[in-house]
Amino acid sequence: MALEEDLDLYFEIRTDLVERALNQFVLIHNSELVGVYPTLDQALADASSKFDPGTFLIKQVLDPEPVETV
């Protein structure tokens, strides 16, 4: 699964991302870091202009990683 592999990459480089991109949004596609964006809107716009839906990961760099509740 592409998203799982993209997520694996995120956690591989997470320490570095926390240092230089905390609270920003990263775009990962095909296990490659495509870009870092200040807003989700900008990340979505760039991702959607380049890649097919469902083939990319957008994740906010947060520390610690949140555990949400429902």
């Binding site: 989700l40 809107d41 760039d46 839906p53 957008i58 949400e68 509740t69 429902v70």
Partner: protein, 213 residues
Amino acid sequence: MIATFPRRLRLGVDATAQPAAQPEVLRTRGAILQVRIGLPAAMVSGMEARGSTPPEPRALLAMIDTGASITAIAQGAAEAIGLVQTGAVQLGGIGGTGVKPIYAASLGFGDPSISPLDPIQIAGVDLPSTEFHVLIGRDVLKYLVLTYDGPRGVFALVPGGNAPPPSAGATFVGPAAPIAGAGDFGSLDVGEFPTALVVAGVGLALLNIFDVF
């Protein structure tokens, strides 16, 4: 049956409502309102630029859940709408913790004067209820003021004073409506988007914001 009302129509308390019926409806059903969910505008633009036709937003029923830190949508509804998964999140709850999909979306309310949240990231979950398909979590409520009037059986959702997305003065007031046909998530045209759903034959009170405050 879906009834469409103009904004700020003052209906007052329905005189035919049976005493204490509505508070019990609100208690058992919860604070349910209609929302409109679709792809975020940024994603729509990108897809159109690449020659794709993005799916239309859909009207869904949502329950306000102050126990949820993040807004969530039933997995089946997310797939039916055509939301795009953009990630995953660790999600905990009474049933334990697990990794759930995250979808990029836009979230609008029945009252068009409340600006949509666009974009927003919502979690895909298995919801046990068929009466609603969305849980409005605290990530959305942080922009709004929720008033829950248990004795009267009504609730109100209005923008907060320093809320960036919703516009000042916008209001949504919802009855504790037992919703018919809630298992369907059929789409509605924007022009007929109702401020509330009312089931015929059930005495419900629909209050204007000025009746509440």
